[in-house]
């Protein structure tokens, strides 16, 4: 059980590092590739975005708005079988409503599909 839990934590931390790396290259297609074809993405705008194409458009908008230095810090990860879920703190650099440099942050939940090859793909992602 302990090794299972630490393996899940490692899997999620690796997935977070890869996701952050794609974000910080401003590569919206690479970010979108972490999502399954039937993924749901629920941003704080309260839109319900579905699938990699809508996800890519969303992140492309963030990159155009100058959001950089994204970092996910794991709070907790659990799961078994084909489902892994995790809670994280996220932070990024961007601009305030007045156009001044500002740090944005919040909390996020990720529900991953645990693929047979050990790769995690996002089926559900929400943040606030």
């Amino acid at each position: 059980m302990v090794s299972g839990a630490s393996q899940i934590k490692d899997q999620v931390e690796n997935a977070y590092a890869a996701w952050d790396a794609a974000f910080n290259k401003k590569d919206s297609n690479a970010v979108a590739a972490f999502y399954t074809d039937d993924a749901y993405f629920l941003p704080p705008s309260h839109n319900v975005l579905q699938g990699p194409k809508e996800v890519a458009e969303f992140f492309s908008g963030l990159f155009d708005a100058g959001v950089t230095d994204h970092k996910l810090e794991l709070i907790e990860a659990q799961g078994n079988g084909n489902i892994v879920f995790a809670a994280a703190k996220w932070s990024a650099s961007g601009k305030s409503a007045q156009g001044q440099p500002a740090t944005h942050s919040g909390v996020a939940t990720h529900v991953f599909e645990n693929k047979p090859d050990g790769k995690l793909k996002l089926k559900l992602h929400t943040f606030n």
């Binding site: 629920l42 078994n80 489902i83 529900v111 606030n128």
Partner: protein, 144 residues
């Protein structure tokens, strides 16, 4: 022989057709039943009953200005008691997506409520752990 093969194929297809949606429906029904119970407790302003839907190690991630991470039923009860004191009522959850396996069920949904006279709402994710008695308890709950 050909007829037999066709018959077998038809039966197999019927089984696939029948079994897949019924599993999905039952997953959705289980989540919807849990949501109904949650909404009922919420709308009675019963913070203790609401916190009873969470596991001892549950995490609740709310959208407040400081993005506090609430852990366990005691902290979660305080959070909901605060909402009830602030006059939040008429809570409802509309399921938009269900995911699950033998141990966990996950619901993505729209939440709505009333804050005094204004309508409020957003998106939420609920990760339930199936308990040994068959009930569902929340391990992780986020909303925005």
């Amino acid at each position: 022989m050909r007829r037999f093969v066709l018959l077998v194929a038809a039966v197999l297809l019927m089984n696939i057709h029948l079994s897949t949606p019924s599993f999905a429906a039952s997953m959705q029904d289980q989540i919807k039943a849990a949501y109904d119970a949650f909404n009922t407790a919420f709308n009675k302003r019963d913070a203790k009953a609401v916190s009873g839907f969470y596991t001892d190690d549950a995490i609740l991630l709310g959208p407040g200005p400081d993005h506090t991470v609430f852990k366990g039923p005691a902290e979660i009860e305080k959070f909901f008691a605060g909402l009830f004191d602030a006059g939040i009522t008429n809570h409802n959850l509309d399921l938009i997506r269900a995911i699950g396996n033998d141990n966990f069920l996950v619901g993505a949904d729209k939440w709505t409520a009333k804050s005094k006279d204004s309508a409020i709402g957003g998106n939420a994710v609920h990760v339930f752990e199936k308990q040994s008695d068959g009930s569902l308890k929340l391990k992780l709950h986020t909303f925005n």
